[in-house]
Amino acid sequence: MENRSFYNEILTEHNIHPDFKHDIPDADIVLDGVNPSCGDEIQLKLKIDGDIITDGAFVGDGCAISQASTDIMLGMIIGRKKEEAVKMGNTFMRMIRGEASEEEIESLEEASALRDISHMPARVKCAMLGWRTLSEALKNES
């Protein structure tokens, strides 16, 4: 059957073989993120050195969208400044709301694989879980 669903290879790969789904025992920030209505849950772990996110990982359980989106996010933000990560999160949210320009979407690299979520209102929360948790984690920290 032709794959009309939006689960492209980028998403399924990050879901099945996540790069950052593991523990960081000495993380500087640990924050839980949950979508109570769907039961998606993650625990985001970050290591911070001054302004820089030096390492990050997550553990958890949920749908492919929530898990892949979080994994992709971590690949993008590790090694960046906190404020850059927050800015990316804002661009991601704009993309999901269907408000981002093509240029902005391109700047999101792999995360742009989730752009079609803007047509799937029931799944927006799943795609946002990682980014929402990240922004809360960084807000609490500063």
């Binding site: 689960y7 099945i16 492919a64 799937m120 799943c126």
Partner: protein, 407 residues
């Protein structure tokens, strides 16, 4: 084979394979016409005016009450109270009967199969009164061991509440036997008929229940109309749930004399059009007949169940026998989250439900967090089942788990 979809305008206009009937069914033209007809010809505030339109509206409304009475085999029309839905019906029992008849040290016994609507009202009663909430648990296939049920009921038990058909497992439970055990110990029996009324003929007198609740919208009727059946002698003694207009005999500055049942429990302007629509739905269902409904649902869901067992990685929850599912098939697919399964089905035009189905304690008891539910109605066809099967047989592959092979 008769094409019942022709009776349902939405199904004729919309190509979606609609197999989320346990959430809400579609409505036949006859129901839409009845609701429309009420507003076009008889609309007035029932039970209030003396003029002809109001009398007609009142007649329409009270005719519907008698239709419901006959449909579920109640002894008197006054035992039928119109509510918004099953949830409101059970809350009415809990707030009115529950809070006045349950006290500290008492026990309320509910089944683990309850929909949240059949559980939370009893949690409230127990919290407010200090009574203890206890659970009837099912076996891993969803069946009940009646000996275990009997052992849970004692002279402290004041209320036993159980769903007649589970919205997750589709299984029917022996309400009559449970009611007998409850009565032997002086408890009242509350049955949730939200999922039974669309599939099996119900007779509350034969079941011996004290209270019975169901929703119009799952029975091909309108949304916003539901039913509470209660035994006359119990309803007469119960305090009103909501107070206000239309439920009184007379009102003074600081007191009121309440109306007789059923009006005592129907405060405010009633949903007469909804009741009229429910009457039409009952007529429609009787016209099709429960034998035919059962035959069609069994044929299509039985076929789907058999084929699902041949697909690698699918786990079906509940009984092995299709006749114990009442068209409801709840399942998981290995490695794939239920929301992703239903997303893929949706992209193939198949509408199913994913999640906890408002029965979190049951799923937890059975060892699941979330599942997918396909629920077939008598209008669903083998072609519907085939589209569903084609879609689920590709789910693992489309989520990147290699090609799915037939066993």
């Amino acid at each position: 084979m008769k094409n019942y979809k022709k009776d349902f305008p939405l199904l004729m206009q919309n190509p979606t394979v609609y197999i989320d009937n346990a959430a809400t069914a579609q409505r036949p033209q006859a129901v839409l016409d009845a609701v429309n007809g009420f507003y076009q010809r008889h609309n007035a505030n029932p039970l209030r005016g003396i003029y002809e339109l109001s009398v007609e509206a009142t007649e329409d409304y009270e005719n519907s009450r008698r239709a419901v009475q006959r449909f579920i085999g109640a002894a008197h029309p006054e035992e039928i109270i119109f509510t918004r839905n099953t949830t409101e019906s059970i809350n009415l029992i809990a707030y009115s009967y529950g809070l006045s008849n349950v006290a500290e040290g008492d026990e309320v016994l509910v089944s683990i199969m309850e929909h949240h609507s059949g559980l939370l009202p009893w949690q409230m009663v127990c919290r407010q009164t200090g009574a203890k909430l206890r659970f009837i648990e099912c076996e891993s296939d969803g069946s009940l061991d009646l000996n275990k049920v009997e052992a849970l009921i004692n002279d402290k038990t004041k209320i036993v509440a159980a769903t007649q058909v589970s919205n997750v497992l589709g299984r029917e439970y022996p309400i009559r036997e449970i009611a007998r055990m409850a009565h032997k110990n002086g408890a009242v029996m509350v049955a949730d008929g939200a999922q039974s009324t669309p599939h099996i003929p119900v007779n509350v007198t034969e079941l011996g229940v004290d209270f019975f609740a169901f929703s119009g919208h799952k029975l091909y009727g309108p949304m916003g109309i539901g039913v509470l059946y209660g035994k006359e002698e119990l309803l007469n003694k119960m305090p009103p749930f909501l107070t206000g207009g239309e439920m009184i005999e007379s009102v003074a500055r600081d007191s009121a004399v309440y109306a007789e049942i059923p009006h005592k429990f129907e405060a405010g302007t009633v949903n007469a059009a909804g009741a009229v629509g429910l009457n039409a739905a009952i007529d429609y269902v009787k016209g099709v007949g429960f034998d035919e409904i059962h035959r069609r649902e069994f044929e299509v869901s039985g076929y789907a169940l058999d084929r699902m067992r041949e697909i690698d990685g699918i786990n079906i929850i509940g009984s092995d026998k299709a006749e114990e599912h009442n068209g409801i098939i709840t399942f998981t697919v290995d490695d794939v989250h239920p929301h992703d399964i239903s997303e893929i089905l949706a992209s193939d035009g198949v509408a199913v439900r994913a999640g906890h189905h408002c029965a979190q304690p049951l799923l937890k008891h059975l060892g699941y967090r979330a599942t997918v539910r396909a629920s077939f109605a008598f209008y669903n066809t083998k072609e519907d089942a085939d589209k569903f099967l084609e879609s689920i047989s590709t789910v693992r592959e489309r989520m990147g788990y290699g090609k799915q092979k037939l066993l």
